[in-house]
Symmetry: C2
Subunit: 126 residues, 2 copies
């Protein structure tokens, strides 16, 4: 019963923190987010609440507070968002998408090598 619903941009920010630091308290999440966002603690708590309602986040009481952890796995969430992005922005065409990102970002020699290796290991579809 996991990940039936999509998560919004702001919610992604929160989940990214959770996935990297779980289990974690609301305080912890708020503090980490404070480094990047300008959200009030109340705002973050709202997101926490919505995410649990969406079934993406779960918690277990620890003393007087909650310990949060992701319910589903990040990969499935990434898959869903990526699919939707590919469809709407690139009309479902993978190569134009890849071309766009390669062309519009700087890549180190190592990264380029890594991507070459990835292509080498890629089995061609027929």
């Amino acid at each position: 019963m996991t990940d039936r619903i999509g998560i919004s941009d702001a919610e992604w920010q929160v989940m990214n923190v959770v996935w990297e630091n779980q289990p974690i308290t609301a305080q912890g999440i708020i503090q980490i987010l404070a480094l990047k966002q300008k959200w009030s603690p109340a705002t973050v708590r709202t997101f926490l609440h919505r995410l649990t309602k969406k079934g993406v986040l779960e918690f277990e009481p620890e003393g007087n507070r909650y310990l949060y952890r992701a319910a589903g796995n990040k990969t499935s969430q990434i898959r869903k968002a990526s699919k939707s992005f590919l469809e709407t922005v690139f009309n479902g065409q993978t190569v134009p998408l890849l071309t766009h990102f390669v062309k519009s970002h700087r890549l180190s020699e190592q990264e380029i090598a890594e991507l070459r290796k990835l292509l080498d290991g890629k089995e061609a579809a027929r």
Copy 2:
């Protein structure tokens, strides 16, 4: 004064049709979209209206109807959506994004070759 605001998923569907067929009448857009979507004509007209309000779409009267065409260029819109997607879903990291899309989609031998060539021509950042 172009493209100050983002466009929604449904609006992307409409713009994709416009970018490929402009200039085009509302009827034309509605008919092409009917092939893929189940929207009522009224719904499409609402999107047309919102898109012009957002400055993404413009029109010129042609007889008793309008001829629509995109205001800004598609590339800038793609850039904006891509940037936001990269940031929220992949924490700004291009290589993981590229890896995900290569791994999760089938690519023909030609496409793989095309991507290799792209990497070969890519100048490494230092």
